[in-house]
Symmetry: D2
Subunit: 437 residues, 4 copies
Amino acid sequence: MSDYFKDIAPIQFEGLNSENPLAFRYYNADQVVLGKTMKEHLRFAACYWHTFCWNGLDPFGGGTFERPWFAGGTPLQLAEQKADAAFDFFTKLTVPYYCFHDRDVAPEGADPRESHHNFKHMVEKLAAHQERTGMKLLWGTANLFSHRRFMSGAATNPNPELFAMAAAQVRDAMDATHQLGGENYVLWGGREGYESLLNTNIGHELDQMGRFLNMVVEYKYKIGFKGAILIEPKPREPSKHQYDFDTATVYGLLARAGLEKEIQVNIEANHATLSGHSFEHEVATALALGIFGSLDMNRGDYQLGWDTDQFPNNVPELALTMYYIMQAGGFKTGGCNFDAKVRRQSIDAADLFHGHVGGMDVCARALLAAEKMISDSRMEQAISERYAGWGQTWAQDIMAGKVGLDALADQVLANNTDVLPVSGRQEYLENLVNRFV
Amino acid sequence: MSDYFKDIAPIQFEGLNSENPLAFRYYNADQVVLGKTMKEHLRFAACYWHTFCWNGLDPFGGGTFERPWFAGGTPLQLAEQKADAAFDFFTKLTVPYYCFHDRDVAPEGADPRESHHNFKHMVEKLAAHQERTGMKLLWGTANLFSHRRFMSGAATNPNPELFAMAAAQVRDAMDATHQLGGENYVLWGGREGYESLLNTNIGHELDQMGRFLNMVVEYKYKIGFKGAILIEPKPREPSKHQYDFDTATVYGLLARAGLEKEIQVNIEANHATLSGHSFEHEVATALALGIFGSLDMNRGDYQLGWDTDQFPNNVPELALTMYYIMQAGGFKTGGCNFDAKVRRQSIDAADLFHGHVGGMDVCARALLAAEKMISDSRMEQAISERYAGWGQTWAQDIMAGKVGLDALADQVLANNTDVLPVSGRQEYLENLVNRFV
Amino acid sequence: MSDYFKDIAPIQFEGLNSENPLAFRYYNADQVVLGKTMKEHLRFAACYWHTFCWNGLDPFGGGTFERPWFAGGTPLQLAEQKADAAFDFFTKLTVPYYCFHDRDVAPEGADPRESHHNFKHMVEKLAAHQERTGMKLLWGTANLFSHRRFMSGAATNPNPELFAMAAAQVRDAMDATHQLGGENYVLWGGREGYESLLNTNIGHELDQMGRFLNMVVEYKYKIGFKGAILIEPKPREPSKHQYDFDTATVYGLLARAGLEKEIQVNIEANHATLSGHSFEHEVATALALGIFGSLDMNRGDYQLGWDTDQFPNNVPELALTMYYIMQAGGFKTGGCNFDAKVRRQSIDAADLFHGHVGGMDVCARALLAAEKMISDSRMEQAISERYAGWGQTWAQDIMAGKVGLDALADQVLANNTDVLPVSGRQEYLENLVNRFV
Amino acid sequence: MSDYFKDIAPIQFEGLNSENPLAFRYYNADQVVLGKTMKEHLRFAACYWHTFCWNGLDPFGGGTFERPWFAGGTPLQLAEQKADAAFDFFTKLTVPYYCFHDRDVAPEGADPRESHHNFKHMVEKLAAHQERTGMKLLWGTANLFSHRRFMSGAATNPNPELFAMAAAQVRDAMDATHQLGGENYVLWGGREGYESLLNTNIGHELDQMGRFLNMVVEYKYKIGFKGAILIEPKPREPSKHQYDFDTATVYGLLARAGLEKEIQVNIEANHATLSGHSFEHEVATALALGIFGSLDMNRGDYQLGWDTDQFPNNVPELALTMYYIMQAGGFKTGGCNFDAKVRRQSIDAADLFHGHVGGMDVCARALLAAEKMISDSRMEQAISERYAGWGQTWAQDIMAGKVGLDALADQVLANNTDVLPVSGRQEYLENLVNRFV
């Protein structure tokens, strides 16, 4: 269909000794790891936006990529060409899933109805591509941040008419996700935050956001969508401050809106580090709070203060993240989405494959490392032993609320002995991790 | 009593034209601003720790301060000398309040009972000093982070015996705060977090923390303490990650423990900026979430990644913070505590006064600026006008839960018109602020 | 000519009591301060780029500004309309200077000659506008970072043909700057750095950069340009690492190329903070190293890791910068350029004036504060006294190279007495600064 | 001699399958890699300071380590016990080198002469230990930052008498390094910088620093010391700003003092990341500038803004650093020093071994990866091909200064064709690196 990737053969597993840069050396889709195939565990998705819509523009320069579907036809024709190229790419890459924003796949129209119809038109095309190729939709979402009208936010806009415009887009995007069998629906609030406190009523905006989230959950049940609703935390950029700053903040937002059982998080590695946390911190926190959903596998650059969305390539960093997820039973509706983009200088069609193939192999290595960590069990044992004291009856009584401050304090004075600390053994444990990566 | 500050005369208000560096030029305690005196609004407190306990040590060098109460007596004798000097300082400075950790005022003993008795002894001395001078206690707290035994946390320690040791210290500190008429009790969790995920069970530790907070609240009611319970957020340092990362995170912790109506936050400017937020952001967020309590008025250095605890000295930065607080009705149990320390090179007794006098004057200027902002009302109007659309009936129906996603989306398609954005006017508003500072 | 700003009256000084938001309250062009008028000291310039070319685009959204010169004519017609509007703006704002990149004022052509001719054409138009209005050019520069061809650098491109393309643009931009009476020529190396070490030969690129700088200086002398050649340091963005990271790094680059007497720095406040320094640090360092040239007066946001280019609005922060410059004799060829942009949500024509008017007033306040600091002289005295020991003969002998390590060490052992430190008095000095702002 | 480590057997290479946590799995001292043994390449050193002097103190808590040589004897007796333990540790660890500050090995005395004699006494002890064990000294240095007298700097102190005190310590430390056969002498300027510009004369301090460095180099020649003089860059901490901010800044300092051929850099991974650079950036820059000397192998934590000095444990991160060094011919006088400390909670004697053993194994893996990168040669080829155009005669003429801006610009206009960019292939290259780690 599309011939943009005609020089690229479908990517195959060739094993460790392959010298083919466009083959997998670790990702063997059907290899069984911890009771499931790699494909079933990792649930890879490629994203529409960075790979098919971005033209290489950055704040200091214009586009560098010259994709054939960027110009030379009507907007809908170009959208169809883009979809042809995208599904060609997805299938050659052998990812089972893809993800999109509404405006990635269909052009904004001249008015709300035209936008609605453009999108409906393209959703039919996507459905046909899915049918044809067997591709599945990991998640859909609505782009409520690129258009000028949303410059001051969508759900948190000071103008309720723009809240309504956002609602209209989200209904369509949820309908499309449902129709296409999407396994999750994601909300990312790029402009749900503020540029300046001087023109912002935080309390009102937080209330608006809580209401919007409730409307989304209500609509999910209304249409019978079985997938998960996810929020993607990010601390800032494009806004100065985003209300979904990080996983712990999102937990608070959800609790305030009564939704902590209804909505989970889609954690991005790059957003994690921009918020001052490691990727594994965000994942471990979400698991501890019961709101872990899915992953965006794109790293940042530790020296840069903005979202670079690079492909993952550091195995030791990912191994711990994968370990925590696998230890907790693996992904449910979520998966590993590459919300990653090739560098602005990587202008060849093949570069898109290099980025994804390398990223997939790194995830597969991390999964294999996680398998070793779990089989070995020393990491888990070290934790269990460290907290073993809490298994004692008197300690369980504390946690059960049977003992108060007063009683504990009396007990300490009665015993009148100090408690000696024991080594945290961090270096030993770090070395242990290095055995598995 | 103490003669360490014998060369310093009590600090007085001398007005703008004073060339005396140890006089107030703005802080006029009895001047009425927004319906109360400056003293009643600002509720200044000096802290025991940085000013009387720290010896100037940093990670790369030893003490530089040579206070007379650092050596030359038994620990209790030195504690008494320190208290003499402290109250001499507080009264000369004319702050109405002070704050302390248990271990600031009394030495750790050889066993729990000795520590308990040392502290009780010194609390009697403090009570006498308060009686003698009229000084009041803004808040008390327990130091659960300096002693070796708490190296792996206190409430979140993997060993329940250390949780009990922490409980014992907190009971004593709460009792003392109650006895001394303290208006708040503060919890700062310097080691309630982790150094490495490899030896940490986040979920269990969060449960421990929730239980500990509940025990504190239960005990407050048991003893009839009328003050507020406050948590002081900080993202990290000394730990790699602290569970009370920032105000939004603390809200989530409280909601998870069912305590969002019981506990408020004590916000420190330096901790705010270390967590990636402005000071005014943290204050505005706490006000919006209904958990604003008190302030620590010590700034960080924007170029440094650790807690420098410097005295405030940038009026424009503080003016907005003061504006939000005054606009919301001012402090209730909280106040402005200087959890600030003079620089390690500021080794003279007079330097302690320079730091506080400058800080108090800066706060007074910020209060005067806030008064102007409120009287002028243009800042408030700009916000009201921007959100005016939400006052319409159909918009109120959205917030009241009467309208769902579907209905809003239908309305947008029926209207079929785009909504134009309006200017956020940030530059105009920033200039407006500059009229008042 | 242009009617875009037709509702804006020329900005005038109205003094402190003016309630007109589009009047100066501090900037009184003809008021004499430290021996010169404010206008002569501050040498304000507005920039072409952010104010007339940027459409409000950011990495997550499209343009929000709808300037009449963005569409509806041939590229050269639009460039002429833009120039009309720009000079209308400059004159209403009453700044004496402006600054531009070659591609701001004239469109890129289909080939090098067309670009060259477009630029020549527009330079004639600029000359006519200057003649008509009395406006002067503070500096010109070449945009070697926006076009796709320079994605891997200009002077440091791995391809020498692109080095040549850069040379061609710079010659034209230098010629234009000379022709228009520009007082400086600036080099900003947005892509003179790297994205990845994996495809970069740092040593070769540093040699290329040194050679290019020498070519620029040689050409300056060849054409008899009397202005200063300036480099604008920035640590990163758009590149991961830029070779002109900060002032100290630029000094090293210049020294390596033998140009430390030939080239100076144009210091931007936002770039300073992105490099981990305060603005005043960069200025004080440049003055100490003898390479101070000019200023870009646009601040960053301390919570954001990218270039926000906001108008200055914090007087205390600017006052020290202005103090160091005035203490060293003031600007020579340089001035205060607003390389600042209104926020993406500030979409009205008036917002452009609000930004600049507020920024100019803040600079004027900073200048007035600097005047007070200099008149008062206590700040300077504190420094002189602190270093007074170096005026002793034996100390001067050290600096003159007459005494070696051995002799000094012998002297210490012979004296055999410790040296006591004295207070750095930082809090006193910070309070002193607050008297003047 | 010391029995602190009596339960630890000498560390041995046991290979990949060893389950002994205190054995090397990769570091096989005598294994030949790239023409030399691992021992000869890596030149491992352990440091005295963190491992034998630090007691676990941090800014929020006291010591946690209870080493037998911390108390219970005269200062000199304790220093001797510490040296016994240190050499026991070094030899069991099988590092060939160690490093020290003067005050690590000998106690400060009551006056300069006593300090001098204490140090001389302990240097004799160290010499005897070296003789007995075969240990060698990688570098010595003087601690000019811990004592109260140096709170305002040493070489850059406002008081010339403290400059002299610093000179006395450095002479002794250089003499000792020379006597003990040290292969380098290091200068780290922890307080050579400022806390506040308000009390600082940057220009004078930079001159002082330049003079001090020249005195050190003069003294090196005077005593015939054959080792290298090294500066260790660090951006800040303990000071707000340090004059040796990073490698590029140090190059400028050296050039200004005429010493760029005489002094090299000792690059620490943690200092690199604190200055906003990757470790490999600092190494590649030093190699490009001809001032690469030695390494401190201690990483920071990307989420923390202070010096954590952790043992290295991320192989991919170190592999590139090792690749650049090996590609440039390997270490000359420098080596891999572990300026690293175990975590404050790692209180057991064994933890010191876990930290070092893990770190050495990670370095060995990085060396093995570098060997593969060099043997494979595709990484080097990618660079050579990218810059191949610069080998053309006309391009060499540019670099040789034979062609000016004018001639190049004329050539571009004469050709009148655009130059197309080519892909930077970053994703391909990142994947290539992952083949070797």
